[in-house]
């Protein structure tokens, strides 16, 4: 058991590095970057742009020594070389301002160089080098600065992470709180009216697209005015509220999004509960318990449910894995200030550090959730041996 845990835990960092590498490379392969838009902006000089790119870790200032080591290269129809004194074009010394357009961007070997107005040369940081830098930073807990917000990514993510978790946990409570009782109810008499109703609810919950459901709820809220739309709290009055009112306000805002996510996930759990219960109720030990004259409730909850709960515990572990990403679209539709908005905006703007950090947090939760699911299964079911 312990060796299993340790082995699985050891694979977690490897998986995470792999995930980080894939995400990083995918982002670098995507054409253009955060600064592409700015290149069109006439108010930004090349020098500003290159300095920003250097700050963002996309380019690096090259010292004169390194440039001299490049020896001569051909670009724009002439051969150039850098010396201690300046730039030579076809062997003739020229001022850096004269060759500004010719040497604005040039490649030597496979490496891209860019020169700004003042003659400062920057070189592109290759994907693998960039990834190495990112890894070193991440190991020290430094996920970089967001390009858009110019704030540490870690801070940004932590702010939003808690909001998303709050929503997901509320949805989780709703989902499990409804799934188990309804599943048991449906299983007691298969084929009865409650069973059919639960089956209907399950199909409904499994099939309704979260976007559509969320939109319907927003419509409902705006038509009745019973629930607030968007945001987590009443932005205007929240600060002046008493503690009790604050809690009430938060729950009020949380209710609809949590219902939307909860119903969607509840359906699957309910089906599983029902299936397990139906199976458990046909087992010999249940018949024995009934034959001994135990009350139906005792048979149901003490004998059948306890045996039916095992696969559910595993499922619970898996549901932890989707805490962060399961609410994605609902957050966007219902304007919840969670991770989803941040990530969508970051993807739009190609804000690399945020995307990296968000994917990392999401993957970590996914991997750990799966691990917890396996462990829970082993803990509750003595027939499962982990090795």
């Amino acid at each position: 058991m312990w060796t299993f845990i340790i082995r699985r835990l050891l694979t977690v960092p490897l998986l995470l590095i792999g995930v980080a590498l894939i995400t990083f490379l995918l982002q670098r392969w995507a054409p253009g970057d955060f600064f592409t838009q700015m290149e069109m902006d006439p108010s930004k000089t090349t020098a500003d742009l290159l300095r920003m790119k250097a700050d963002a870790g996309l380019m690096k200032r090259v010292s004169t020594d390194t440039l001299v080591e490049l020896s001569s290269f051909r670009t724009a129809g002439s051969s150039f070389s850098f010396t201690e004194q300046g730039i030579l074009r076809d062997g003739q010394p020229v001022a850096s301002t004269d060759v500004r357009t010719e040497l604005r961007k040039f490649t030597v070997g496979l490496r891209l160089f860019e020169m700004d107005e003042q003659g400062a040369v920057y070189r592109e940081i290759s994907s693998l080098e960039g990834f190495g830098r990112w890894c070193l930073g991440a190991l020290r807990g430094n996920f970089g600065l967001s390009f858009q917000h110019r704030r540490p990514v870690f801070e940004l993510i932590m702010e939003r992470l808690w909001n998303t978790l709050k929503l997901s946990l509320a949805a989780l409570v709703i989902a499990w709180g409804l799934a188990v009782p309804l599943g048991v109810l449906a299983a007691v008499k298969p084929g009865s009216l409650p069973d059919h109703l639960c089956g209907l609810i399950a199909f409904f919950g499994l099939s309704i697209p979260s976007v559509f459901f969320a939109l319907l709820m927003v419509l409902f809220a705006s038509l009745t005015g019973w629930f607030p739309i968007g945001d987590m709290v009443d932005v205007v009055n929240y600060d002046s509220m008493s503690l009790w009112e604050k809690v009430k306000n938060q729950v009020h805002h949380l209710f609809l999004p949590a219902i939307v996510i909860g119903t969607g996930t509840m359906a699957g759990y309910m089906r599983q509960t029902r299936g397990n219960m139906v199976e458990a109720l046909t087992q010999d030990y249940v018949r024995t318990a009934r034959a001994k004259g135990l009350s139906p409730n005792k048979v149901l909850f003490k004998h059948a449910l306890r045996n039916a709960i095992n696969p559910l515990i595993t499922l619970f572990g898996y549901s932890l894995a989707y805490l962060l990403t399961g609410s994605f679209l609902v957050e966007v539709v219902m304007n919840w200030p969670g991770m989803a908005r941040l990530v969508v905006d970051a993807i739009f703007a190609k804000d690399e550090p945020i995307v990296m950090a968000a994917v990392m947090v999401g993957s970590l939760l996914l991997v750990l959730g799966n691990l917890v699911a396996d462990l829970l299964l082993a803990l509750t079911d003595p027939r499962v041996r982990l090795s």
Partner: protein
Amino acid sequence: MTNSNSQPATPTSSNPTQPPRPVRGPWRTLFLRLKKNRIAVVGGWILIVLYGLSCFAGFLSPSNYTDGDSQLSLYGPMLFGGYHIIDAVDIETDADGNEIEVPRVLVFEDEYGEEFEEAEKTREWRHFSGGITFTDPEGNFTFRPHVYALQEVISYDEYGEEKYLVGIDPDVRLPIQFFVQSEEEHELASLCGWFRIFGTTHLFGVRAPKDDERFTNGDHVARVFLLGSDKSGRDLFTRILYGGQISLSVGLIGIVISMGIGLIIGGISGYFGGWIDVGLMRFTELLMAIPGLYLILTLRNVFIQDSMDSRETYLWIVVILALAGWAATGRVIRGMVLSLKEQEYALSARALGAGHTRVILRHILPNTASFVIVTATLYVPYYILGEVALSFLGLGITEPEASWGLLLKDAQSSEILKYSPWIVIPGLFIFIAVLAYNFLGDGLRDAADPRAVLGKKG
């Protein structure tokens, strides 16, 4: 496996007068078992109808899917009613305490300084009135459905600002005609936007009378908006039908590609084992460790550029969804292949000198077929929803094309949603499609499971 159809049946009955029952092949058995499941059959029929609707979108729809008119923006669904233009009234209490309606009158000054009064107009939605009607222009009952002509009325609000109200003209009714010829050629039918057939016929529609000058000078408009119009004044019903072409086919093509990759990778991995297996499986684990939507969004940035045309974008969406989704099926297929390759028939095929490719393709993969079909049916909704998510976020199909996700995008503004709730109708179609796939998939799973007792769930 499928050869058993043609083999002569061995008679099991001892009664020689009764002809032996033919042995059913596995597919026939699956189909017969599926047919007993009423819900699955319903699901299947719904899907046939939905795919049919989208294939013949051009023919079935009353207008072209890009035909918009900003004046007709967000007009309500004519199936359920219409906008009436009425005089605005304020409710006041008179001296006796009764509530009376007082027309809201605005006072303006004309250019000579003379004051004049004008009643403020407003528009009111009435259910089941002003929409599709069964009265002809003379006011008699007919079986031919009619719609009212739409007109634009200019009125002023309390600040003197002009406001434009689009509503029905209760005096002008136009018959809905069948097999209307349009002036421009448009698509009649297509398979997911390919193999298009062009023509000029619409199944139904309204035509503005040519000699009526109210229509020729633009005061009146003849349009039929069964399910309302969108933000740009395009017919939502038409756009839903066309949107189905994209949204429904993404699921089918996506699942074929993804199952294909899953079968190849899973087959190779399970059959050859060893380092290939370890390498491929670690890779699938990696892919599965990235949250699905994040992976889809990141891949989207790599493959889709804003400069691409709609057809290219569509293809890349399918590829992206397939790339993000094959890993799970690949792993299951690997597991199946792992056990199947030890079966006697696979070993004997090898012993008879069949090559690896032949054993994998002819002996092992066909035995995963029922799993593949069941999983494929159950997974199609994820691809449909994936496209919906991408387009909804503005990262997938773009205007002026239509897809169900893109149509829902307009509903993101709660202002539009509140006053034009029909804008969420495309979501209903997504829901129905996903529900139908779940019905069918569940039925298929039960039918393919030899242990399942049919007719009783659980």
